[in-house]
């Protein structure tokens, strides 16, 4: 079973919920897909056993034999290539716009003028945190997009025999779509603030559009604040779990410690609820 933990707003508690849920599973694999800013390792404190480089393919141009025909640039829908013919005779590549689709190399009519070469954009770290199989993606500093790295995490590192917890990036863009696509259940973590609610609505729109099963977890819950409850009721969305706000919790979080044991039974209940709904 694959469960993705995501949120519209950042800082609502995705990693808190994802790591505590992983801790409550019998046979868990935790995958940190928030490769731009992975932080699950701070709380799970895994022993990293293997670090693998993650490469994407990017075009390399040999201007000595390039005829500056412009076919590669025409084929690039992401506008990562610009060809300037006579008298400038230049083919320029902008790596942060490249999606490694390979169209440029496919259409290039001159053998060797444009070839695809590997470019390391990040690393994948694999290890173990007690009984939790741990995987994290980490984008190298200065790289623009983690989407392909996340795609690789999902394609090559998921262990189907485990209960897989995918800790997602926040928001509703490509990285989130890549993370939650094809999972059995999505937990939308939110907080009872106007920002939390506003961004939750965007997440709900996304998961509904993708046809995924989902429910809400309210973090930093306060009994007298019914902002999220009212919305969920109105939309007919289930709130699976409410993690109450507490100062002690925040203090321990700030020391990169989470009360895993204290809440283990609550998270076991949450897992059971998810299993019943899949």
């Amino acid at each position: 079973m694959k469960i993705a933990v995501t949120s519209g707003k950042g800082g609502t508690g995705k990693t808190t919920i994802a790591t505590m849920l992983a801790y409550a599973c019998d046979n868990p694999q935790y995958i940190d897909c928030d490769a731009e800013e992975p932080n699950g390792y701070l709380f799970l404190k895994p022993k990293i056993e293997r670090v693998e480089p993650f490469n994407v393919l990017v075009p390399k141009i040999n201007e000595d034999i390039c005829t500056f025909c412009g076919k590669c640039a025409d084929a690039c829908v992401y506008k990562a290539l610009v060809v300037m013919g006579e008298p400038l005779k230049k083919t320029m590549f902008f790596d942060e716009l490249c999606h490694s689709c390979g169209a440029c190399a496919y259409v290039c009519p001159v053998e060797g003028a444009l070839v695809e070469v590997p470019d390391e954009i990040g690393k994948i770290k694999i290890g173990k945190a007690q009984y939790i199989d741990f995987v994290m993606g980490e984008l190298n500093i200065g790289e623009a997009s983690a989407t392909q790295l996340i795609a690789s995490l999902k394609k090559n590192y998921i262990n189907e025999s485990k209960t897989v917890i995918l800790d997602s990036p926040p928001g509703t863009s490509c990285t989130v779509v890549e993370t939650i696509e094809g999972v059995d259940y999505v937990l939308l973590v939110t907080e009872p603030t106007s920002f939390g609610l506003s961004d939750l609505k965007l997440s709900v729109e996304l998961v509904r559009d993708m046809g995924l099963k989902f429910g809400i977890v309210v973090n930093k819950y306060e009994e007298d604040n019914t902002l999220i409850d009212d919305y969920a009721k109105e939309e007919g969305i289930e709130i699976l779990f409410r993690l109450p706000f507490s100062k002690e919790f925040a203090e321990s979080y700030s020391k990169s410690e989470l009360p895993f044991e204290k809440f283990k039974d609550d998270f076991k209940d949450l897992l059971k609820k998810i299993e019943e709904r899949v």
Partner: protein, 109 residues
């Protein structure tokens, strides 16, 4: 000389648009004939790569100079690879910037 000015409107009296890639209009002014052509930025609603597209467009238009408020890194790389001269716009209309340029009072980017 043909000069491309990024503008908020389609006339010589329009204010300069501070943005290069996401400018509302590109006004191409010919200092010889004193005629101009206003082109609605065809890349305005593109998701990404607008700097690249706008710079390529500028190079293809064969202009000699550009006046704009700011140039993004990708656009700059392309424009610098060409021989087009880049100028910093002053916070005025397209016409006033052209006048300043012709008086030699416009600062090079």
């Amino acid at each position: 000389m043909r000069v491309l000015v990024t503008a908020l409107g389609d006339s010589m009296n329009a204010s300069v648009d501070e943005r290069f890639g996401r400018a509302e209009y590109f006004i191409i002014y010919d200092t010889g004939t004193k005629n101009f052509e206003a082109i609605k930025n065809p890349f305005l609603n593109d998701q990404g790569g607008v700097g690249v597209s706008a710079a390529k467009f500028t190079v293809e238009k064969g202009v000699d100079a550009v006046i704009s408020g700011s140039y993004g890194p990708n656009a700059l790389e392309i424009l610098r690879a060409s021989s087009i001269k880049l100028y910093n716009a002053q916070n005025r209309t397209v016409q006033e910037n052209i006048d300043k340029l012709l008086e030699g009072k416009l600062e090079r980017f």
